[in-house]
């Protein structure tokens, strides 16, 4: 590979790194939670760009499909269903803010010095090859058991999430006091099943 392609790679790395770090800072600092969710979109997109820069095309596309298409949509729905969007008082008290800043800086310093102290062995340039076929082969041979377990886990998580949302209605009906929120038009429908 020529030096030129390394330079292009470096330029793209710094673009994606700036995108990730900037939008991640926006995610944790913005007071409006909807804006945080949109900033998270750019963070996840930048991470997908980093994956593709690393030659992991399948993981990058999976990142776009699952994180941006799934997790982010779920989070936006969560924001809309629970919202306290315009509450100004999103951050904790000042003491917690200071402690959070200190722990974040300490964490990063520890990670940074740990990284810089290790003499990483370098296996040389690895040409970027399509990874979809090899990943599929690996998943069906060496990683067959984790693959099946992951599907079982997904089914369990889906059933668990549905159960968590439903069971709360039943408990409240059994308790009979209605709680602080008695209004739910779906109650009459749910009584039939």
């Amino acid at each position: 590979m020529s030096v030129n392609s390394y330079t292009v790679q470096a330029v793209f790395f710094y673009i994606f790194a700036a995108l990730i770090v900037g939008s991640a800072l926006l995610v944790v600092l913005l007071r409006n939670i909807v804006r945080s969710a949109f900033a998270l979109f750019f963070t996840l997109f930048g991470v997908a760009g980093i994956y593709i820069l690393l030659g992991a095309d399948f993981v990058g596309v999976t990142q776009v499909l699952i994180y941006i298409g799934g997790v982010l949509i779920l989070i936006v729905f969560g924001v809309m269903l629970t919202h306290n969007v315009y509450s100004v008082d999103i951050f904790n008290k000042l003491g917690t803010l200071v402690m959070g800043t200190v722990s974040a800086i300490v964490t990063f310093t520890m990670i940074y010095y740990a990284i810089k102290q290790v003499p990483w062995l370098y296996i040389g340039y690895k040409a970027n090859a399509p990874t979809t076929g090899p990943i599929g082969r690996e998943l069906m041979t060496s990683y067959l058991l984790p693959f099946e377990l992951a599907s079982v886990l997904l089914v369990l998580a889906m059933i668990g999430a549905a159960y968590l949302i439903r069971s709360e209605v039943k408990v409240k009906k059994a308790a009979g006091n209605g709680g602080p929120s008695g209004e739910r038009p779906a109650d009459g429908i749910r009584k039939e099943d």
């Binding site: 790679q9 770090v21 994180y67 997790v71 729905f77 949302i165």
Partner: protein
């Protein structure tokens, strides 16, 4: 030259930076969903590590497959966590983590 070759440690530093930002978000936000977003940032930082090691150290695809499993588990985790958050919101009408002290003895 300013733009030298990007090596493994550059990716690791980027990942550490993202992880620290996630730690900050988890520790300081009050909104439960904002805390979940911080956790997502930390999970993404870990995945960057896995894929970078797969490129620079490992000769096979193990790191990328680990990242795939991690993404699957993150999807399951966020589904269950949001179900819990919405369930709590239905009960107490708030997702302010400072006010969720029902279990405090």
């Amino acid at each position: 030259m300013l733009l030298s070759t990007i090596t493994l440690s550059d990716y690791l530093v980027l990942s550490g930076l993202l992880f620290s930002i996630g730690v900050f978000g988890v520790l300081t936000r009050k909104n439960a969903i904002a805390v979940l977003m911080g956790i997502e940032l930390m999970l993404n930082a870990a995945n960057i590590n896995l894929v970078a090691f797969s490129k620079f150290i490992d000769t096979g695809l193990n790191g990328q497959i680990f990242a795939l499993f991690s993404i699957v588990i993150a999807a399951a985790e966020v589904a269950v966590a949001l179900a819990i958050v919405i369930s709590i919101y239905k009960t107490t009408r708030t997702i302010d983590l400072d006010k969720e002290d029902t279990l405090k003895g």
